[in-house]
Symmetry: C2
């Protein structure tokens, strides 16, 4: 089969790899229909975090092609969503809903595990991992939105859930990448009364507003803090949602969070120092991490299928598998919010 591989910083190639096959009785093989590039893929692409040379990509949806003898919940021909990590569904962490912390889990597209940027994927613990999509004949728009449930939409949702967003909340979303934009969708879905998007990019500001942002702050750093405080009568926001992972975005999130609130974070932190004295003095919490996507998929899936949310709109570039290098480059250079890969057919 053909699959994208990481060959070093700024090097993505499509090569022939051994066909994905069932190796354990709990495995399934999924033929990939759509895949995409994640903002977190850019860290290794840019050489800023390590990554094994080999298969890549942890977001994909597709059709079950083969199942092991012990797989019960999905069958050949099922259209399925895979969370970005596989999980056994049975360990204490999975049972508590923290599927991204499964003791037997790992992300797709790391350490030689098949990636979603390829024609097929061996999925360990298929019953604990895959979610079958009901119905058939879904529109391309629906498929694009289903693809976001593998990571980006669920991650934006996790940022809001971590920050305690609820009905009536005043929320600020720091970061206008695909995760930040999905966090806006999620905040509106959770009933936020006011959603302040921090974005300086006109196209992303427009998308933010279409997703539910009520205010846009284009400033950065101290000026952004001042602007948010002015919007909130000097009080700060009920929930600050950090969707970048840099020192500046964390600093802004803590500066605009009102006392007693929680900063929700889902951007993989890079060179971030947590302001523990501020947290103590102003009673600001910090909560987040790798989203337990498998737990969130069912509720978000329902909203996608009923067309209540349209997260697939974050994809503003698409290509075939052969175009994967450009798909990375466009996101790296911020020419694209998020790149979709059309790999197979339903």
């Amino acid at each position: 089969m053909r699959a994208a591989v990481f060959c070093g910083p700024h090097c993505i190639e499509v090569t022939d790899r051994p066909d994905a096959v069932v190796q354990a009785p709990t495995d399934a093989v999924v033929r990939v229909v759509l895949g995409c590039v994640c903002g977190s893929d850019l860290w290794y692409y840019r050489g800023e975090s390590p990554h094994t040379l080999g298969p890549i990509g942890h977001e994909f949806i597709g059709v079950v092609d083969q199942v092991g003898t012990e797989v019960r919940r999905v069958a050949e021909g099922d259209f399925v969503i895979a969370p970005f990590k596989f999980s056994d569904g049975t360990c204490a962490h999975c049972r508590a809903g923290w599927t991204s912390n499964c003791v037997a889990g790992a992300p797709f597209g790391t350490d030689g595990i098949d990636g979603g940027q390829g024609e097929a994927v061996r999925v360990p613990f298929a019953d604990g991992t895959l979610v079958k999509v009901p119905g058939s004949g879904h529109s391309d728009e629906t498929l694009r939105s289903l693809l976001t449930l593998t990571d980006v939409m669920a991650t934006g949702h996790h940022a809001d859930v971590s920050a305690g967003v609820k009905t009536g909340s005043v929320v600020a979303v720091v970061g206008d990448g695909a995760v930040g934009l999905c966090a806006i969708i999620a905040a509106r879905r959770l009933g936020a009364a006011r959603i302040i998007a921090l974005s300086r990019n006109p196209a992303r500001q427009t998308m933010a507003r279409s997703f539910g942002a009520t205010d846009v702050v284009a400033e950065r750093g101290d000026a952004a803090t001042e602007a948010v405080l002015e919007i909130t009568d000097g009080i700060g926001v009920d929930a600050a949602v950090e969707c970048v992972g840099t020192a500046q975005s964390f600093a802004t999130a803590f500066a605009i969070a009102r006392p007693g609130s929680i900063v929700g974070f889902v951007g993989v932190p890079h060179r971030v120092e947590v302001p523990i004295d501020t947290m103590f003095g102003r009673n600001i919490g910090l909560r987040g991490g790798a989203a337990p996507v498998r737990r969130y998929i069912p509720e978000l899936l329902d909203d996608v299928l009923n067309e209540r949310i349209h997260p697939g709109l974050v994809f503003d570039l698409e290509s075939t598998l052969d175009g994967v290098a450009e798909a990375y480059a466009a996101m790296d250079e911020r020419r694209a919010i998020k790149s979709l890969l059309r790999i197979g057919t339903v």
Copy 2:
């Protein structure tokens, strides 16, 4: 009036100070009956954090002696509890319950504000700050427990609330100081199913068990982590409660917290580095700070008056105001868990 003052590291004296008098129409003057020394007082006592030379002590209960013309909720002769910080009760943060973050508030016994380790205290914003104790003729045991509601018991409670302790939780309390011991009382009160006390001091272990600890771990560092993981079948605790504020205690709290849980912290952090990568990777939150004591007093007061909790037992040394220097020294040298000062009569 006579009051204790800080005269430099390891120097506490009792001196004559100007009598506390009503200065603003919202002030009250409280004649102190009982005061005490806080674990956080030891930081400046040891020269490890700055403190203005002058009045000290932020925990006191007493009798209202005088009220300003605009004070409505307390009157001369009322027996009252003062939270460790005064708060106006009307700002956005107070209205949201975050009284320790009042925009007009400050701790007693700092920057020249009267301290609770003295004969009387001018209390700004008396209506927003003081809580009247119903009834009269309370026993000495009850008075001692009421004194803990000014800070230490409310702070232990805040640690548990911050960590999300609820019915059935498996909780670990890191720290066997007065706050840690009160956090055990609070955890049981909140319905924890299992409470693991980390303590190596036999007397404190005994008190921890009497307050509701079901398990005691005497080890420290990695050995403590191993012991807690063994107790919890390798899973970790549902809520880790950090009541010390050192790098080691934070590290232990994060190491024993299960994925998806929250570390609640109330020890003033000193040279602590927050393990942001661990937080992200294991989805462990961090929440806490200076307890919103004023908000918590009513519910805890009810439990003290109905003898459901007995936090006054943490006082294991007592003296008059003249003995205040020894009261500090005994805590500094860990000869006492917490020192009570008998200053006036009811």
